[in-house]
Amino acid sequence: MSRKASISPLNEAEEIHLASRLIRLEARLQVLESCTHLSREKLIRLYKEIQKKSPSKGQLPFSTDWYICWQSNIHSSLFMNFYQSLIKMCELDDTEALLKAYQLYQEQVALMGEKEILSITRAWRLIQFFDSGMMTTTTCTRCEGHFVTHTYELHQQYECGLCNMPSRAGKKRGYVRDEEPEMAC
């Protein structure tokens, strides 16, 4: 993806629109650079304009383990199911697929009265892990749901974290497992 190649005014408008959507979701700079053809300088200017602050510097976290922790796993799996459904059902540009899947994730999480655990940057990183073969979905032998796992782990009788809840599940700071959701169903 050559950033030096000039893009037409129409394409640039589309790219700016795409970048704006990502920036509003607080995507990190590396995500913006990967998903658009705009120059780094343009992206930083756009970011400042929309977010009224400079984008965070520094490396993105690069750990597959985060997606395996109980709470992150159920959020990541929800996102990934939406993402895989979308790309199966129609031909979509990568960034468009990311944005639409993330929208579906946000909608559903809000409907359940839960907090978003997966940021757009984490979602983008997860897709990169899938594309590189480091992570995949495994089918739970009990509920047949698809859950995010490491590719090379042996999963002969895989059970998801919801069918087989670990005793310490959801006892992280900030997540109160035993509290009834505030919104009535």
Binding site: L78, N81, F82, S85, K88, C90, Q108, M112, G145
Partner: protein
């Protein structure tokens, strides 16, 4: 109105609302509509192009046009399990349904 007539009216109303909602979803965002409805692109295009007269006719059936996207017992038992903490069940069924759209769409295309 007899009870039967009331029930038939309700079915017709759901059918009508379903088709009208489907058309609205398609016009709003054709890609998301496929996931929300679990229907393939070609079928959605046909639905979208129905005139209001056609929609009314199609709604006038004694059975529902739309079915349960998960008709398997296991899915419903997962969500109705009273022992499970409410938010976990909700999350669980959300994950199961999020994938179903792919299976549903594929089956619809084969039919």
């Amino acid at each position: 109105m007899s009870l039967d007539e009331q029930v038939l009216e309700q079915i017709k109303e759901i059918n009508l609302n379903y088709l009208l909602l489907a058309q609205r979803l398609i016009q709003d965002d054709p890609v998301l509509a496929m996931v929300r409805l679990g229907v393939d692109q070609d079928t959605l295009e046909v639905i979208n192009n129905l005139s209001i007269q056609q929609v009314i006719k199609m709604a006038s059936h004694n059975a529902l046009l739309c079915g349960l996207r998960r008709s398997d017992l296991a899915y419903w038992q997962t969500h109705s399990n009273k022992k499970r903490q409410a938010s976990s069940s909700h999350f669980h069924s959300a994950i199961l349904l999020a994938n179903q759209s792919a299976k549903w769409g594929a089956e619809g295309a084969k039919a």
